[in-house]
């Protein structure tokens, strides 16, 4: 996956390079088809549980990504904590590797604890 370009919307502190030429930057950015980067959103539904992936959104920077995640994904009391991660920072397995990666586990039933019968003395384990 190629890295995503920085967003077209200004972030605080980005500054206005050359006061007069300010309007040219967004135009150039739009022309180049630049979009806000994509973020993956993870929500923890209540204390003690794991954060679960629940969707994605576009945002110009971490702060706004977090606010938007709150606004878009926790409107119905879905969560008590939110994580956002730049999508391009996630390293994913190649779908083409699926057979090689995952099929060999198919006949290894002995890797499940349920495969083993426990001696009576360790019942209730």
């Amino acid at each position: 996956m190629s890295s995503v370009e920085e967003g077209t919307l200004p972030s605080p502190g980005e500054g206005r390079a050359g006061a007069g030429s300010g309007t040219e930057a967004p135009k150039a950015a739009a022309a180049a088809g630049r979009e806000w980067p994509l973020w993956e959103v993870f929500v923890r539904s209540k204390a003690g549980l794991d954060h679960k992936h629940c969707g994605s959104l576009h945002a110009p920077d971490p702060k706004m990504a977090l606010q938007m995640a709150r606004d878009v994904y926790t409107r119905r009391q879905e969560g008590v904590s939110v994580w956002v991660v730049r999508s391009d920072q996630i390293v994913a397995s190649d779908p083409g590797d699926k057979d090689m990666y995952f099929d060999p586990a198919e006949d290894k039933v002995y890797r499940h604890p349920t495969f083993y019968e426990l001696p009576k003395s360790v019942d209730h384990m």
Binding site: P10, P12, E14, S21, A25, M68, V72
Partner: protein, 257 residues
């Protein structure tokens, strides 16, 4: 066509309606962004805030109706008053303008409401104190979200900075009204119902100065113009927004979802 209700303009009712109507009218203006915000996520954020404000308005209008003692419920107060019986700050009835205008107004209004709710948590009216305890959480987020946009656009591109400056010049004219003292405020302060808005002035200016400073925007000089929405005398925009809000209830009295 449903006739207007006759409002008892007693001080405590007016005091609560000033806050409730400010929430109600701002919610209506924010709702105008539904489907029009620059991005989907912000569209949802703005309508979320509008719904928070509607909830706050409902609670305050209900309480105002109880204090008034004429059996007016939240719907009658929201939809069946004449223009002069609305007491929102003029700031929130101005047309929504561009996105810069809307986020700056949100920041100004949210800062004011946040400071109000903080004081109202200690209201002598237990109902109002309970409303404030819930609303303060919403207002804190509204302020953070709006102030974040002000900084982002103020300290952004030449275009966004220019738009924020233009919005600031327009909106700042409506600041003096927010903190003008009068008998309604004095009565609320004396009874412990809530603070006189003038008491919030210093804190409001300090918080706005910090946001504007980070946004690289210069705070305009204080305007000599004094708007009067809180006394029921509104700008030319108020009639139109009320017409839109009231049309359905006036035409189909008592209509519900």
């Amino acid at each position: 066509m449903q006739a207007s209700i006759e409002l008892d303009r007693r001080a405590d009712v007016q005091y609560l309606l000033r806050i409730g109507d400010t929430c109600l009218i701002l919610a209506q203006r924010l709702g105008e962004w539904c489907g029009h915000a620059p991005i989907l996520e912000e569209d949802i954020a703005m309508t979320n805030m509008a719904l928070d404000l509607v909830g706050q308005a409902r609670a305050l209008l209900t309480r105002a109706g109880q204090l008034e003692g004429r059996a007016h419920d939240e719907d009658q107060l929201a939809f069946l008053r004449d223009e002069r019986d609305y007491f929102n700050a003029t700031l929130v009835e101005l047309p929504r303008g561009d996105f810069a205008f809307s986020v700056l107004r949100n920041a100004m209004a949210a800062t004011l409401l946040k400071l109000l709710w903080e004081k109202l948590e200690a209201s002598s009216d237990a109902e109002v104190a309970a409303i404030a305890a819930k609303a303060i959480k919403e207002a804190r987020y509204h302020q953070q979200h709006a102030a974040d946009w002000v900084v982002r656009l103020g300290d952004g591109t030449g275009e966004s900075h220019a738009r924020m400056e233009a919005a600031l010049a327009q909106l700042w004219r409506y600041v003096p009204e927010l903190f003008a003292a009068d008998a309604v405020d004095e009565a609320a302060r004396a009874s412990g119902l809530g603070p006189a808005w003038s008491e919030l002035r210093e804190a409001w200016f300090a918080e706005m100065a910090s946001v504007l400073d980070e946004a690289t925007l210069a705070m305009p000089a204080e305007s000599a113009f004094m708007s009067t929405g809180k006394r029921g005398v509104h700008s030319e925009h108020m009639g139109y927004i009320l017409a839109e809000m009231q049309y359905l209830q006036r035409t189909y009295p008592g209509g519900v979802w």
